[in-house]
Amino acid sequence: MDRRDFLKIMGSGFASIAGADLLIPKRPLASTPGTEFYGILVDTTRCIGCRRCELGCAEVNGLPLPDISESTNQTVLKTPRKTTDRQYTIINKYETSEGPIYVPKRCMHCNQPGCVAACPVKAMRKREQGHVTWDVNCIGCRLCMISCPFDIPKHEYSKAFPRIQKCNLCWDRFNQGQLPGCVEVCPTQALMFGTRRQILEEGKRRIAANPGKYVDHIYGEYEVGGTSHLYLSAVPFEQIGFRNDLGTVPYPEYSTGFLYAVPFIFVLWPIAMLGMNRGTKKENGEEKEEHHGEETDKGKH
């Protein structure tokens, strides 16, 4: 072996050790101020499309187990799929300028999620540790589905008592000190779990250490205000199914314009209308009218 190969092996060895440390999350801190997000670094150059993450996810979530035999994979991976109400994560295969690339797709766990802002009952919640979870007080209005730029939440249309289904970053497992089901079974460490700060650093480190290997961009670092699933890629992200037109504005900020105007209208409209009603009143000889000008209630009860 020559010196370059030796250094490569040593380098990747150190990286794996450092990475292995990052694979195990520290015990989650009980609500201390500044509890940081956790997330997953998805390195698409390491993904081999084995779909074991799909199986692992289904197993820990009690979902139907997908058939991930080689022959089935060949067929399944022919066309890009979406997540469904029975599959929280899926692998898609893209033919690119660098050959076939396999990409895991699941909830991005945005820093400021549109689905959370849209939910009228806080069934969709962003936990302090970053997980975006769904709860059963949901009314099924499906506005979260409309508000997600990644089209992740899925509704169980076939059921009389439907839920909204999506990856929740294995919230329950996390609280028991376990890794997400997908991360645990990935054979190539394409998935790395850690705090967002850690995985962002690791992503940047990999790009800096391998300049020819990666596009110099981490998808999810700033997109839609930042997400907790961060992606590395060997090719421009549009080639592997990512939209590059989502902007960096956190999605909830698209509705703040209206929500911030609400209190003003609630104050100004009644004032203006009372003023107009008062102003258009004939002052002379309309005693009955004045009586009816007085409010005794607003019909709120």
């Binding site: 500044g34 209190p263 009372l274 008062r278």
Partner: protein, 41 residues
Amino acid sequence: MNELFTYHDMFSSKGPEYIIIIIFLIIIIGFWAFVNMNAKR
């Protein structure tokens, strides 16, 4: 830059805002009676 790593609810003030609005709408009833008080009888 901290919002890239921790969660801050940008809507945390909406609850108190709505309560203030409700109080305003209740007070305005009395205020309106007050405004009309100097009307000729």
